[in-house]
């Protein structure tokens, strides 16, 4: 089974990289993008085919390593 984990900064956490990208888009003349927040995507191949098991496994992976929960949220998607 394939899975995707998306890690994003929590609301209210300053994202200087997102701000810089936002500025670069504006300077390219790409209008209409009000704000940019940068995050990370992890694409994974899982050994299991069981969705409940996969979900638990990935949540554990996020809590232990993939996300720093002081500043980041995560979302698990099973594909």
């Amino acid at each position: 089974m394939k899975a995707r984990v998306v890690v994003t900064l929590k609301d209210g956490i300053l994202d200087p990289q997102g701000k810089a990208i936002e500025g670069a888009l504006k300077s390219l003349g790409i209008d209409g993008i009000d704000s940019v927040r940068q995050g990370k995507i992890f694409e994974m191949e899982l050994a299991t085919g069981d969705r409940t098991h996969a979900e638990g496994l990935l949540r554990g992976a996020c809590e232990k390593l993939l996300a720093n929960q002081v500043i980041e949220n995560f979302q698990v998607e099973l594909l």
Partner: protein, 232 residues
């Protein structure tokens, strides 16, 4: 004093830390590889040196914080052992949960490498007894992710309990403003654990040991630890 320096793949300031400790205490620290499960016996101080452990992959310090040796470091801290995390070592300590908060990308997105003044917030801790309270010291900084952040509640607790160790200031000791190199909240350069025996800081006191290379303002930190270890 018996000190151990933890070596991760990508650490690059361990020699500076070894030299600083040897110069101040006359004893060479042990080097402990990140894959070890135990520290040598009778260690007073564990140092997590600066560098770019695991190439800063994922988040700075994130992978090193989960290395096998970190369980032993955590146990050492639980036993009221002394732990010093410098630069990447500070990032590893927050990722390991031994200190609160997080070190974000510098607010101006630039790697800063320069001399920096700090004010010593208090001198009644294991790491600062050889300084004066409010003393301004000049040390080196070199980091891209030193922007300390914590949620409002954590920050209130840190400030309330006097757990800020050093703040960025100018040469006159005026804290913050243009003297803050990375956007750290409350101009925080270093913080203590609840029992004041774990210190994490972004600046490099270990580089300011010998007058030949710019000053000796970093010596006080190692002298303080050595004095305490001797007394203990």
């Amino acid at each position: 004093m018996k000190a151990a320096i933890i070596l991760f793949p990508g650490s690059n300031r361990e020699q500076d830390a070894i030299r600083a400790i040897e110069k101040v205490t006359g004893k060479k620290p042990s080097i402990v590889w990140h894959g070890e499960h135990a520290l040598p016996s009778g260690i007073d101080l564990v140092v997590l040196p600066g560098g770019f452990s695991y190439g800063d992959y994922l988040r700075c310090g994130a992978i090193a914080a989960r290395a096998p040796v970190m369980d032993a470091v955590r146990a050492h801290a639980t036993r009221d052992g002394l732990v010093l995390g410098i630069c990447n070592g500070f990032q590893i300590l927050v990722e390991a949960g031994l200190l609160p908060g997080v070190l974000m990308r510098n607010a101006n997105l630039r790697f800063v490498c320069r001399m920096q003044h700090l004010v010593v917030a208090r001198n009644d801790t294991p790491f600062t007894s050889h300084y004066d309270k409010g003393q301004v010291i000049k040390v080196a900084i070199a980091h891209g992710e030193g922007n300390y952040e914590a949620d409002a509640e954590t920050l209130k607790r840190l400030e309330g309990d006097g757990r800020v160790a050093f703040r960025y200031c100018d040469e006159k000791g005026v804290v913050g403003g243009g003297a803050n190199p990375n956007g750290s909240v409350n101009d925080i350069a270093g913080i203590y654990s609840e029992n004041f025996r774990v210190l994490g800081l972004m600046p490099h006191p270990e580089n300011l040991i010998d007058p030949l290379v710019g000053g000796t303002d970093g010596r006080g930190l190692f002298e303080s630890v050595a004095t305490l270890a001797k007394a203990g």
